[in-house]
């Protein structure tokens, strides 16, 4: 069991990436009660946005210099797509039958995936993402890869900024009000249409940061990376209590830990030798989602009743 500290760190790192993407799900759901299936793909386009910036920068630019530009590029791409999707695919259907926006979300998700696959040069297979130079860092028995340094700093920082934004700014308080009661919020002079756009944009921005972290962590981006990661991020959002932005981060961390520990240690349980390892990681994450829905559908932090239909 001496690899336990290492696995805990791995789980927390993975989890903070899930958390960054989960914020998008939870914010949009909290305000318009819509699962934005396309969010995973918005995350993916963010990764490609960052890669594009890296590729058009002159060769020889150091990554430290390029990284802020890459983040900005990722955010611009992801936010543009998210806001466009909201404007053209979700807003016209608001107030219509419940199934309609879910189906358009599926359509957008498919279209985005295929558009990147077909039109981004070379995206039919995985594309290499730049790596941060420098060796891994050792702290006792724990090793942290250089690629994870970004995640380690970006995740808490973005959470702090988000917390400040939602709690202290006028728009943030408008978001809280809209989430609580859209009609009353409208009566109080809040432009709820604008608030919804802001929620989509913020979610996309955090997904874009998550995508940059993904690229640095795994050294590649590909057109399918949003699908499973989106599923897991949604699981994280549910786990933390959907609609609760701190819940998203905590759910992400919990899911990351659970997945890493299951992958590493489940094979040690007698009778389950063959069910460990990376190839089962997704399955365990999904089993966790089912268990959470079964026993605590309101999530770890969610005081909101999950069924508000």
């Amino acid at each position: 069991m001496n690899e336990l500290p290492q696995q805990l760190v791995n789980g927390l790192l993975l989890g903070s990436m899930y958390g960054l993407v989960a914020i998008g799900y939870t914010m949009v759901y909290g305000i318009v009660q819509l699962i934005n299936f396309a969010h995973g793909e918005i995350f993916m386009t963010g990764g490609f946005g960052a890669l594009t910036v890296w590729l058009i920068l002159p060769g020889g630019t150091t990554l430290w210099l390029a990284l802020p530009l890459m983040i900005i590029g990722a955010i611009i791409v992801a936010v543009t797509i998210a806001v466009g999707a909201e404007r053209f695919a979700y807003r016209p259907l608001r107030g219509g039958p419940r199934l309609a926006p879910l189906i358009t979300a599926i359509g957008i998700s498919l279209a985005l995936q295929q558009a990147v696959w077909a039109w981004y040069p070379g995206a039919t297979s995985s594309l290499t993402f730049p790596e941060i130079p420098g060796g891994p860092f050792h702290f006792g028995s724990v090793t942290i890869q250089t690629g994870d340094i970004f995640l380690l700093t970006a995740a808490p920082l973005s959470m702090a900024i988000l917390g400040y934004f939602v709690m202290k700014t006028r728009t943030g308080r408008g978001m809280q009000a809209t989430a609580q009661d859209p009609d009353t919020a409208k009566l109080m002079g809040i432009n709820t249409d604008r608030i919804i756009v802001v929620a989509f944009a913020l979610g996309a921005a955090f997904a874009a940061i998550g995508a940059v972290a993904y690229g640095l962590k795994y050294g590649e981006v590909n057109f399918r990376m949003g699908f499973i990661l989106g599923l897991k991020a949604f699981t994280a959002a549910v786990l933390g209590g959907i609609g609760n932005i701190y819940g998203a981060m905590i759910g992400g961390l919990a899911l990351g830990l659970a997945e890493t520990l299951a992958t590493a240690f489940i094979a040690d349980i007698p009778g389950m030798q063959q069910l460990g390892g990376q190839s089962w990681a997704d399955v365990w994450a999904f089993v966790l989602l089912i268990l959470v829905l079964l026993f605590r559908p309101q999530g770890l932090l969610g005081e909101r009743v999950a069924d508000r239909a």
Binding site: Y29, Q33, L34, I35, F37, F88, A89, P92, L93, G96, P97, R98, L99, A100, P101, L102, I103, T104, I106, G107, I108, S109, L110, A111, L112, Q113, Q114, A115, W117, A118, F227, I228, L231, F234, T235, V238, Q274, L275, G277, S279, W280, D282, V283, F286, L289, I290, L293, L294, P297, A306, D307, R308, A309
Partner: protein, 608 residues
């Protein structure tokens, strides 16, 4: 009866606006041009359009229409017929119970689009208009004349509000575009359908038979189209032609008849479908036929879940996979880890039962919550099913499913001494392997149709619809929401498992790659959902038609290839925005989606 007389009867339309067409021509000239253009189109289909047989279909003969010429001929004939009917000529009036003018416009459009597509395709493929024979020019001009005439037919203009001059440029533009769209829509609008004289029962059944025979012919033609151009032309002619018949009111007439003789119509439809293998000389198109049936049947099963109960299931293909794998494992395949060979009836029951168990396992925790949770959990289940099946290969997990190689060499069925793998000769017709399975699958389709119909009209079906419309109100009425939803979900899973058990035998092999969320080959979850949405949620014929179309289009149009899924995603979004009720709308759903548009119409009527 012409539209003019109909409109003259109704008082509220006597407004000051003059009735003109989209193109300014005197009405009688327009009508004559359209009719004559249609007739000339028919004649021109008998001419040679090009000098060389290099263009597929060989359009070089005088007197013998070939390939695309037949399609143009049909479009022209429809235009001419509707044109004659609009003159009120005796014997043609039954063609246009809802007025002829919109039907003329659409059938002229059908002929025009197909003819011009052909002419342009000839010029582009063979390099220049020089390759056209005089017939090519004649058909182009004739269809153009018919279209101009048709568009010049007068119609009742909607009352439009002029744009507010104080608006910003963009708003003015939007307003004007909206007005133009309203005008165009009005140009294709139809009057009320004239009531039909009741025919004796046998005559009505004869009509149904004729319609079904026509349907089979059209469908068989579509499956048998041999080159891309012909299939595209087929889609254009069939699409606009169908719209023309619909505008003429004929579709409504026929659906009234089928509603009156539902059982006859249903049995007739299945007899027509069963006749399909007899129209084929080899097994090539029977393969497509059986795959369409599998896809359409699974889509129909999904329609119970999505269309009736309103539960969005995004991993439906996984239940098909569960059924297929379960049946394959007990089929006596050498690569199955279990050395059992159950008879087919037992295998199909195993497939259905295992699917049902998974349906309950997935449904029970999620159906207590809001519908959105179900969507994402089923999406996850679809993916997890694939990953698990891949992992259970003996190296990264216990050996159950043989990993990515799948379970192969599933033996052919043998029921009552009838070997499904062998070629049989029935009454002089050769029935190959896939045709045998086609009949078997047709039986499964019949089961699913009957289950759909019976359950939709039972107490539980009404409960599903109530839940779909307003869950809170339904619960207040004493419906046990969770139980009713679970029944729908598990029933959908069971039917998919049933189809999966047959599918495993049809394809010889089941592999995890067959059961993905989105993939270029149907069936997969995204295509299934698209088939339901495109066809019409909550109807029986909708998913069948949608499934057939969504299978044929990628199958026939190979050049779409890489962009198929992209086109699909965009099509889903556009469909939900502009025609959420699908091709064959459920009446109730149509009203629900177009509440706002219908309401003012009734109001003005009451106010006038």
């Amino acid at each position: 009866m012409t539209t003019q007389t109909t409109t003259a009867d109704t008082p509220h339309t006597t407004t000051t606006d003059e009735r003109t067409g989209l193109i300014a021509l005197p009405p009688h000239i327009a009508r004559a041009t359209a009719t004559a253009g249609g007739a000339l189109t028919v004649v021109s289909a008998f001419l040679a359009w090009t000098w060389t047989p290099a263009f597929p279909g060989d359009l070089t003969y005088y007197g013998y229409p070939g390939g695309l010429q037949w399609l143009v001929l049909i479009g022209g004939a429809l235009t001419a017929l509707f044109g004659l009917a609009s003159y009120g000529i005796k014997g043609t009036r039954w063609l246009v119970p809802a007025g002829a003018d919109s039907a003329i416009k659409l059938s002229a459009l059908a002929a025009f689009v197909t003819a011009w597509y052909t002419v342009i395709a000839i010029s582009v493929q063979l390099g220049g208009v020089i390759n056209l024979e005089p017939g090519g020019y004649v058909v182009a001009l004739a269809t153009l004349a018919a279209l101009i005439g048709a568009l010049a037919l007068p119609f009742e203009r909607p009352q439009l509000l002029p744009a507010d001059p104080e608006d910003a440029g963009w708003d003015q533009f939007k307003h004007r575009a909206g007005n133009q769209w309203a005008t165009t829509k009005a140009a294709f609008a139809t009057g009320p359908i004239a009531p039909a004289r009741r025919l004796p029962g046998y005559a009505e059944i004869l009509i149904i038979t004729a319609v079904l025979a026509l349907g089979l012919t059209v469908f068989t033609y579509g499956i048998g189209t041999e080159y891309d151009e012909l299939f595209l032309g087929f889609l254009m002619t069939a699409g606009f032609g169908f719209a023309a018949l619909n505008k003429a009111g004929l579709i409504a007439r026929v659906s009234l008849l089928t509603a009156r003789h539902r059982n006859v119509a249903m049995i007739g439809a299945f007899v027509a479908a069963a006749a399909f293998p007899f129209t084929q000389s080899d097994d090539q198109y029977a393969t497509i036929g059986v795959n369409i049936l599998i896809f359409a049947t699974v889509a129909l099963g999904l329609n119970i879940v999505v269309g009736l109960a309103g539960l969005l299931d995004l991993g439906y293909v996984a239940f098909l996979g569960v059924g297929a794998y379960a049946a394959a494992m007990v089929s006596g395949s050498p690569s199955s880890p279990y050395d059992v060979h159950l008879p087919f009836w037992a295998a199909i029951l195993v497939g259905a039962a295992v699917s049902m168990i998974f349906g309950v396992l997935i449904g029970a925790p999620t159906l207590r919550l809001r519908g959105d949770y179900l969507a994402i959990v089923t999406l996850g289940f679809g993916e997890i099913f694939r990953i698990t099946v891949l992992n259970l290969d003996g190296t990264s997990g216990p050996d159950v499913t043989n990993g990515s190689n799948g379970i192969s060499s599933i033996p052919n069925l043998n029921m009552f001494g009838f070997d499904f793998g062998a070629v049989h000769t029935i009454g002089g017709f050769t029935i190959g392997r896939f045709a045998n399975y086609f009949f078997l699958m047709l039986l499964v389709t019949l089961i699913v149709v009957v289950v759909f119909r019976r359950s939709a009209e039972s107490r539980i079906g009404r409960a599903w619809i109530a839940i779909r419309e307003d869950e809170t109100a339904a619960l207040a009425m004493g419906i046990n929401g969770f139980r009713v939803k679970l029944v729908a979900f598990a029933l959908g899973a069971t039917l998919a498992g049933l189809a999966g058990a047959v599918q495993a035998h049809v394809t010889y092999t089941v592999t995890p790659e067959q059961y993905q969320f989105a993939h270029v080959v149907p069936p997969n979850s995204a295509f299934l959902l698209a088939a339901v949405v495109l066809g019409g949620m909550g109807t029986i014929s909708g998913p069948l038609v949608g499934g057939a179309l969504l299978f044929l289009i990628p199958n026939k149009l190979q050049f779409l290839g890489d962009y198929q899924l992209l086109a699909f995603g965009v099509a889903l979004v556009l469909l939900m925005r502009f025609r959420p009720e699908g091709l064959i709308p459920n009446r109730r759903r149509q009203l629900e989606f177009h509440e706002n548009e219908e309401a003012p119409a009734t109001l003005t009527k009451a106010g006038a």
